[in-house]
Amino acid sequence: MATMEMRKDLFADERDDNLNVIGKGVQRQDMPGHVTARTRFFDDHAFDGMLHLKVVRSPHHHARIRAIDTSAAERAPGVKRVLRGADVPVNKNTLLSLINFGKDDEPSLAVSKVSYKGEPVVAILADSEAQALAACKLVRIDYDPLPAVFDVEETLKPGAPVVNETYPGNYFEYHERFDHQKLRFGDVERGFAGADIVMEHRYQMSPIEHAPTETNGSIAAPEQNGRYLVHSCAQGLFFALGTTAKIVDVESNQLHFIGGTVGGGFGGKVDSLTEPLAVLGAMLTGRPVRFVLDREEEMLYGSPRGAERIYIKDGLMRDGRIVARHIRSYFDAGAYTRLSSYAAIKCTAHVPGPYWIPNVASDIYVSYTNRCPSTAMRGFGVTAVDFALEVQMDRLAEAANMDPMELRILNAYRDGDMKPHRRAAKNTALVECVQVAAEKANWPLSEQAKRASSLIGGGAGERSQIPATQLDARGQIGRPDSRNGPVTQVLPAGTSRIAPSKQPVMEGARDGRATPTQVPRYEPQRPAAPPPPPAYQPAPPPYQPASSYSPPPAPPAPPPPVAPAQPQHGAVRFSSVFGTRRR
């Protein structure tokens, strides 16, 4: 086994002892099972009397369901049970509701309309897979096709078809107040005005299917004492357990999940696509139930990596310094949220890339379209914007007539540099990475670039400061004018925390659309009556000069209802979702 070199000169803050495992070949504990075929994947379990679950899926991108007739399917040979939306105890869910983030928006089985081709509508449980598939063909669904929208920007325009009734503006609503994730640092407009070259490019990614060799699936079987055993392909076993418990409305200790062997995941097995219906089927029939996607379903219904459209506008000086960068990106969530809301947060945390730029702004939207919902995949929210950023860097190098490696070394973060997220960069190593890559590729670097170091030149003067920052009201939900609104505030230099607007969601009139449908949220811990929505509060005064800045007065909102604290399942893990810091 080849050994790796640990560059302790670059990672001086990391552990200083000699590492026993990293860089050495150590046998994996699961390898003997893999080579002898004794590893048990979820489908490698036999049960007597097992039923097979198959799903009738929407042939339309967007359609209202007028009627569903399952009578012929129910009479078909071998069919033991037919499931419809009304059979699902909690037929609306969003994955991150386990950490109380986002509204429930996706049904297990569609009831009144379908929003993408492949959306599940009816489930059939039969003695054999062939019988279940034959019965699926007997289900009659009367659809009324609706106009569909597939473009991440078209869908945000007034008048676009509403993809997801829970989010009638076709964008994910952050904290019920904002239509996107926003980052502001300095004054990009002034940066562009003072730049020698201003360059803007558009980057379009495609969705990417994980295509795991093992398709998504699970087997659920009744155990004793009202418990259910579930063999699951899930990448996050407890995530799948919590999601299933919520949807089938049982205590999580009634579910016994077994997993850990995943036949390829890459992010595509975090959505609990099959477990809830398999468990529900086992509950309703008392029989073991196997629900496995075939390859076509995996492509249609198994979430892909969401496509992103990214606009990058840069202000560049002739000497190669980037003085301003504005990034606007639209993340294609497909029809339902799944994990796209988190992708945009990750993307925001990643921009402007590993470069110190004095003026940065970004606006990252999650757009709903009539496509298969997208989800996690290997650095989702980051890899696509990285592709765009690095192609942009090459274009900037060309415009400045500079070597692309040198341009990166010139602009790279140094230790101590202030990031737009108002935290100092530490343990930076891009300079050294580029130097090593250039050396290995026999790429000539100037003496100056060879002498550069992540430890030199950072964290001093302007590079360590939080500049005065232009704020605007762009992106506040309920303000039809807000998306292109002007600067409303200037935060003085050094302001590290921006108090979020407390302006509540206004009722109706969101971008001129109809009043949103009220979708009940899953709130297991709360007493029955939800608090009344707060009354409309006028916006704070639009402009306050920098010299006399004071925080906007808190709106006289009614006191928050006294409710027992909700459990924050897994909050530590996903703390970046809430903007809370991990220590």
């Binding site: 390898m31 002898t36 004794r38 048990r40 489908d43 390859r295």
Partner: protein, 160 residues
């Protein structure tokens, strides 16, 4: 539909079962006989995870009608080791870290086994050709190729 009797040898043992005439060999091995070595990946003969040996020839079990295997010798990865002693290919796969998620591994081992039985000293190109019908989505092809080449040079490798 009336079921048909079926007998064949599986990893050296005589097995008898009844199958639906439309059953494929993969379902028969997995659901009928409990040999979970061959996997389901696509059901269309494109991924190779269901590869088994039928009379020494690699075949895709998902595209093989079970009744066509009457009287034949079926070999799967489950029967590859000789008790506690691993086949040289299995040893080589372990030594070369030639599995990541492990789902394609049984099919890869079977394809490699068929190759070495016919061609004990394959070139790298012949190894690549032999596993070209087996998809590894974790994209660990290089260690797999290295493992097969190493096994070809190991003592006892000709035992198929």
């Amino acid at each position: 539909m009336a079921k048909l009797p079926l007998q064949f040898r599986l990893n050296g043992s005589d097995r008898a079962t009844f199958v639906d005439p439309a059953s494929n060999l993969l379902d028969t091995l997995r659901r009928g006989l409990g040999d979970f070595g061959p996997k389901y990946g696509c059901g269309q003969g494109t991924c190779g995870v269901c590869t088994v040996l039928v009379d020494g020839e690699p075949q895709l079990a998902c595209l093989t009608l079970a009744v066509s295997c009457e009287g034949r010798q079926i070999e799967t990865t489950s029967g590859m080791a000789d008790g506690p002693n691993l086949h040289p290919l299995q040893d080589a796969f372990m030594d070369h870290f030639a599995a990541q998620c492990g789902f394609c591994t049984p099919g890869m081992l079977t394809a490699a086994r068929a190759l070495l039985a016919k061609n004990p000293q394959p070139s790298r190109e012949e190894v690549v050709e032999a596993i070209s019908g087996n998809i590894c989505r974790c994209t660990g092809y290089e260690p797999i190729i290295a493992a097969i080449l190493a096994a070809a040079n190991a003592p006892g490798a000709r035992r198929a």
